[in-house]
Homo-oligomer: 216 residues x 2
């Protein structure tokens, strides 16, 4: 089919990626429903044709952005998950990296949020459901990683909460919250972002009942 799989795949992947970036920015700004394919094309100084050449539908484009966001999360979290650490330390490390990703890949993570929301509200068309259902399972597996460490830490008496489902929901919403209020400032350094992430994670772990000395 292709003459040179490597470079051709890269070139095609690069073209796809540029579209993904533009789409993520548009979806972040207006949301899925209010973003038109023409909007995304305009952002690329291009026309619809370019997008529909690489993605069969608006739903698939959205799903691809969602998937890329989730893939980036997994890529960064998996090494930490594999570490041999006490539950609360591991939970802290996972939460910190998760929060860094919310800040560093905000546009994509916001699309992930909206994708989950669309699913929860059941406001999806059949095609959208088919495209998102598998991705939602990936999301559940991701969430399960945190839940396992949370329950283990509670078993050690280092956390305290009534309902694990509610606790998990609140922890994620707290960790995800930068996608709603974070905006990079001029002259902002990596240390600034790190300080933000630290405050976010501290809030979330304290919320779960952790003592500061136990995870820092």
């Amino acid at each position: 089919m292709t003459q040179m799989p490597g470079s051709e795949a890269f070139a095609a992947g690069d073209a796809r990626f540029k579209i993904l970036m533009a789409a993520a920015a548009c979806f972040e700004k207006r949301g899925y429903a209010s973003t038109s394919i023409d909007d995304v094309a305009r952002k690329l100084n291009a026309t619809k044709g370019r997008i529909y050449h690489h993605f069969p539908s608006k739903t698939d484009l959205f799903a691809a952005v969602y998937k890329h966001g989730m893939d980036m999360l997994y890529t960064r979290l998996e090494p930490i998950r594999a570490l041999d650490l006490p539950p609360l330390q591991k939970l802290h490390a996972l939460a910190k990296e998760h929060t860094r990703m919310m800040i560093g890949t905000k546009a994509f993570q916001r699309v992930v949020w909206e994708g989950v929301e669309m699913h929860l509200r059941g406001s999806t068309t059949p095609e959208q459901r088919e495209a998102l259902d598998e991705l939602l399972n990936e999301r559940h597996r991701y969430s399960a990683i945190f839940r396992a460490e949370t329950e283990a830490a509670k078993a050690e008496g280092l956390l305290s909460y009534d309902n694990i489902s509610i606790a998990n929901q609140m922890m994620f919403i707290a960790l995800n919250s930068p996608i709603f209020w974070y905006t990079p400032r001029v002259e902002e350094t990596e240390a600034d972002r790190e300080a933000i992430a630290r405050q976010v994670v501290t809030f979330a772990l304290r919320g779960l009942g952790a003592k500061e000395g136990d995870f820092r």
Copy 2:
């Protein structure tokens, strides 16, 4: 103009209110952009004419739902605000009632959330901006109530956090979180909802650095 201001105003208000309820439910389910006026009308077993007779535009309908949600919040929070309590106790009482409202008037509060989001994203048309700008100020005043008590409690050494803006954002997101995950179950009692609110508020105040004994 009217023969009997009282009852006629009530009747008109009642007709408007029914539309507000249906609109809140639709906006909650699909979001603003994906909700058509026909959807709202269908929910009322009616047609567009009924809605456009009471509201000049979709934007105004949305703004009215938003305003009603904020008004309900203010009505319940103002008496607590007027109480003579130590900052942390007052913050706790405010947070608890706020959370109860998130659970009890979820559809309206979700519209409030989306309204704030639309404003933050700047994804509003000029008309929408005009209709929402004043309402957003109301939202800021509401937020300021919590911020004042938070800073006062911190001054007493009962809270600890780095940045007040981030702390305020995270507290609100935590308290608001039921609008994303709460769904009433069958056979659910008032005590169940109270337990949920308690866990939410505990998470938020502990996140801000409060010791459990200081607010419960």
